[in-house]
């Protein structure tokens, strides 16, 4: 296991380096700089600003000094927010986005696994078709549609729940969590349905049935563990996706998270912020993929065996 983890860890370093390099040169190749504006900026001002952000150096110098700063954990000052460093901005937005993503993941797993297992135990019956059709609709409906619909119903018409903010009015976390989580719930429902159907045909389940175990025990103790492997494998990337993909939900619900600024940074040509957030999210994605691989190996005796024999 240690060998597996360490080899995956070292594989991720070149991946990150490629991401950093590609992003660094791509943002600089994009037309329009961070200081271009509708009102023309006098050349002496542009010069002063460029000097301040080291843009007057050659691109290789900029690249190497960025890498040196990065190795110290410094992501540099933001272009859009002159008084803030990218580290500070990420630190301000991340807890909110992480909390939102975490709740959304809980919602997704709870609704997704319940619906998927329920459907998978009685495949090709109405108990399967109904939840799976709902899930299909859930996958197809983007969050920019679900969000406003939920807001219209629970916020504006029924006036039950707040429509904006995060932790400032009671209950304001419910609608964003549902909006972000439901799409993933639908996906997880389909994954777990597939997993359960496959597992239920396995020999060891038949053995369990033959031994006369009650079906509840068969499902909870034996089938779930194997049937949910695809779900677990999906959770890592899903959490990273929730973190980096919360842009729409954060915009709809006016949530002070990181997702919004990730996208805005690109529009603003905020070089350091684009780089900083990209590096940060890439590291997260690599990390969560690694975690879900580890859990998958731990859950799946076949894979465990494989790694043992490889050693």
């Amino acid at each position: 296991m240690f060998h597996f983890i360490s080899s995956r860890f070292f594989q991720s370093i070149p991946v990150l380096l490629i991401v950093i390099t590609a992003t660094f040169f791509l943002v600089r190749a994009a037309p329009g700089g961070p200081f271009s504006a509708e009102k023309s900026v006098p050349p002496e001002v542009v010069k002063a600003l460029e000097a301040q952000y080291r843009l007057d150096q050659s691109i290789w110098q900029q690249y190497t000094s960025y890498l040196v700063d990065l190795s110290r954990g410094e992501l540099g000052p933001s272009f859009r927010y002159p008084g803030r460093t990218v580290n500070e901005l990420i630190a301000a937005g991340l807890p909110v986005t992480a909390e939102l993503a975490f709740y959304a993941l809980l919602v997704a797993v709870f609704f997704g696994v319940s619906a998927g297992v329920y459907a998978g135990l009685k495949p090709n019956t109405i108990h399967d078709y109904l939840p799976m059709s709902v899930a299909m609709i859930g996958i197809c409906m983007p969050s920019f549609l679900i969000g406003p619909l939920l807001v219209l119903l629970f916020g504006i018409e029924l006036e039950w729940l707040p429509v904006s903010g995060w932790g400032s009015t009671p209950g304001d976390k419910i609608l964003p969590t549902l909006t972000l989580g439901l799409g993933y719930a639908a996906f997880i429902a389909r994954l777990s349905r597939g997993g359960i159907i496959e597992v239920m045909t396995q020999d060891y389940i038949r053995t369990a049935k033959a031994k006369g175990l009650p079906s509840r025990v068969i499902v909870l103790k034996h089938a779930l563990r194997g049937g949910l492997i695809p779900v677990v494998a999906f959770l890592g990337p899903a959490f990273a996706g929730l973190l980096s993909g919360s842009f729409v939900v954060e915009t709809i619900f006016q949530i002070p998270g990181l997702g919004r600024f990730y996208v805005q940074a690109a529009f603003n040509r905020d070089y350091t912020m684009i780089l900083g957030t990209t590096v940060f999210f890439s590291a997260l994605i690599v990390l969560f993929n690694l975690l879900s691989d580890i859990i998958a190996v731990w859950l799946n005796p076949k894979l465990r065996q494989q790694y043992r024999s490889n050693k």
Partner: protein
């Protein structure tokens, strides 16, 4: 074993439900911001995007302007009704006969929010800082009417004492201008002219250093009616009443909470649920709904800005002014503003918005398709034959697209010309327009101050904002030489009008409509005065708790 598992699953279910429903203590919605705010005297102000910074020598935006005018105050302020200057930090001022020397008397009760006295020396230091090239102040040009300030910031003069700003004593500030500049007083309540507290800025870094910690809550020292209390990144900025403000007894609000809300749809929803007293804007498709159903909530007023298209006059077919005029004359602006933009905009037939502090230019053209067709024939394109396919560029936005499509159809219908639409991301679009890589490009312009000069001096030959390739020596002479030395307003406005007539005759730009400011205002907020700058004097505002329950949804 089975029971244990069941117990575990049930616990997880309950835990999940608790998180879902009780993530912030219950499902019922609390009291609205408006109700609480009215009781406590806190104004909830929708403020567009998140402020970049709170250093007035660094920022460039309107949301920043809203916050900075609460935290700082210039020598003069504006009467929100007439926009004429009213006393601010200066209790009075004298203007010399040649209109080049302004002597301001600073009020002796002017204090900083930490209790320090505010003196004329503070202005000298602040304007010195505003002109430091290293600081990269994009609005340094607001100070350029002051003698030698431009030369100083461009490094042609090293000695700041040659710049026309002197403190004769603690309470007397003398400003010497390059030329008589009738709108000079109008500039003084722009944030780039506000005084800054030297000791605070120097405590946290060098004077010309960007982004030091002096603008953070707890550090910020200002002289405005409010002082910075909290700054929650991306969430809100809270300011509270400044007890040291010279006119504190006339400030009715106890504080303002600025909400940065970029999405106008979200902002409108928040307004409907009583989370805001005033929005920054309103979704275009909602304007008509409010006009019909709740007109008392909708505040619209012409705004000091215009929507127009630039022509690239370097292109052979667009270098002919007959073609440019024909294109301008075949747009039905009334139809465009009533059926496409629908926000109550005013059709534009001049470049400077009408009634800019008493200035009204003569209409340069009218909607006249027959005459437009005749001009096109004269130029060699009868019924559009032989007219090259021309690109109309706009920055990506649904609103700009709709307008471009409508204009494309009008041109096809009236002139028979083929236009292709092209949209680019904002920064790419800016790059294209700056480098002349366009044929016709959408643009907008918001005046920096209330004077026709802010709309006309951009079209001089070397103007950084011209970008059309157009130049006319008569125009340059009127704007750069004659207007600045005109002694009275009538003479000056007449020179400006002559210049604008040349601009509209040659038409390197095609005016489309005058913007209007649009916002939603809760009935409990009183004292807002409509004006073309959408200027708010916070000390005039009051909140009426009796109207908290007014229905806005």
């Amino acid at each position: 074993m089975c029971d244990q598992k069941k117990f575990k699953i049930t616990t997880i279910n309950i835990f999940l439900l608790l998180i879902m429903l009780g993530s912030s203590s219950g499902c019922s919605r609390g009291e609205s911001n408006v109700t609480t705010g009215n009781r406590n005297g806190i104004l909830h102000f929708g403020n567009g995007t998140d402020p970049q910074e709170l250093d007035p020598h660094i920022v460039t935006g309107i949301p920043e302007h809203h916050i900075l005018t609460a935290l700082l105050e210039g020598l003069v302020a504006k009467d929100p009704k007439t926009l004429e200057p009213i006393p601010g930090v200066a209790k009075e001022w004298r203007i010399s006969k040649d209109k080049k020397i302004y002597t301001f008397t600073i009020r002796d009760d002017a204090l900083w929010s930490n209790g320090d006295p505010l003196t004329a020396h503070d202005f000298v230091w602040s304007w010195w800082r505003a002109l430091q090239p290293k600081l990269g102040n994009q609005y340094a040009y607001m100070l350029f009417p002051i003698r030698n300030s431009e030369a100083y910031t461009k490094g042609k003069i090293i000695d700041f004492s040659q710049v026309g700003v002197k403190a004769l004593d603690d309470l007397t500030l003398v400003v010497t201008l390059e030329n008589p500049t009738p709108y000079f007083l109008q500039l003084l309540d722009h944030y780039s002219m506000f005084p800054l507290h030297r000791a605070t800025i120097e405590k946290f870094g060098k004077a010309h250093e960007r982004g030091t910690l002096w603008t953070r809550p707890g550090n910020y020292v200002g002289n405005g009616p409010f002082t910075l209390k909290e700054w929650h990144l991306f969430k809100s900025i809270d300011v509270v009443k400044n007890p040291y403000y010279w006119d504190a007894k006339n400030v009715s609000l106890n504080g303002i909470k600025f909400h940065p809300i970029e999405n106008v749809t979200t902002e409108e929803r928040m307004f409907r649920l009583g989370q805001l007293h005033k929005t920054a804007s309103i979704p275009i498709d909602k304007v008509q709904v409010y006009k019909t159903n709740k007109p008392h909530l909708l505040h619209t007023y012409p705004y000091l800005g215009n929507y127009f298209y630039r022509f690239n006059t370097k292109l052979p077919h667009l270098s002919d002014k007959r073609v440019r005029r024909a294109l301008a004359m075949s747009i039905d602006r009334k139809q465009l503003t009533t059926s496409v933009t629908k926000g109550g905009e005013t059709p534009a037939y001049t470049f400077t918005p009408p009634n800019t502090l008493g200035y009204n230019a003569k209409d340069g053209f009218s909607f006249d398709p027959a005459k437009a067709r005749a001009l096109m024939s004269e130029a060699g394109y009868p019924k559009g034959e032989g007219f090259p396919v021309t690109q109309l560029l706009y920055n990506t936005s649904e609103g700009h697209r709709k307008i471009a499509v409508a204009i494309q159809q009008m041109w096809k219908m009236h002139l028979g010309v083929d236009i292709v639409l092209s949209n680019q991301d904002w920064k790419v679009y800016l790059d294209s327009v700056n480098n002349g890589n366009y044929a016709i490009a959408r643009a907008g312009w918001i005046g920096d101050y209330v004077d026709p000069n802010t709309f006309l001096d951009m079209w001089i030959s070397k103007g950084g904002n011209n970008r059309t390739g157009w130049s006319d020596s008569r125009y340059d002479d009127l704007i750069s030489k004659q207007a600045p030395v005109a002694l009275d307003k009538v003479e000056r406005y007449s020179i400006m009008a002559d210049a604008e007539a040349i601009l509209l005759e040659d038409m390197p730009v095609l005016p489309i409509y005058i913007y209007n400011s649009k916002s939603l205002v809760h009935p409990s907020l009183k004292g807002l005065q409509p004006n073309i700058l959408d200027y708010v004097l916070y000390k005039n505002l009051t909140l009426d708790p009796a109207l908290s329950k007014e229905k806005v949804n």
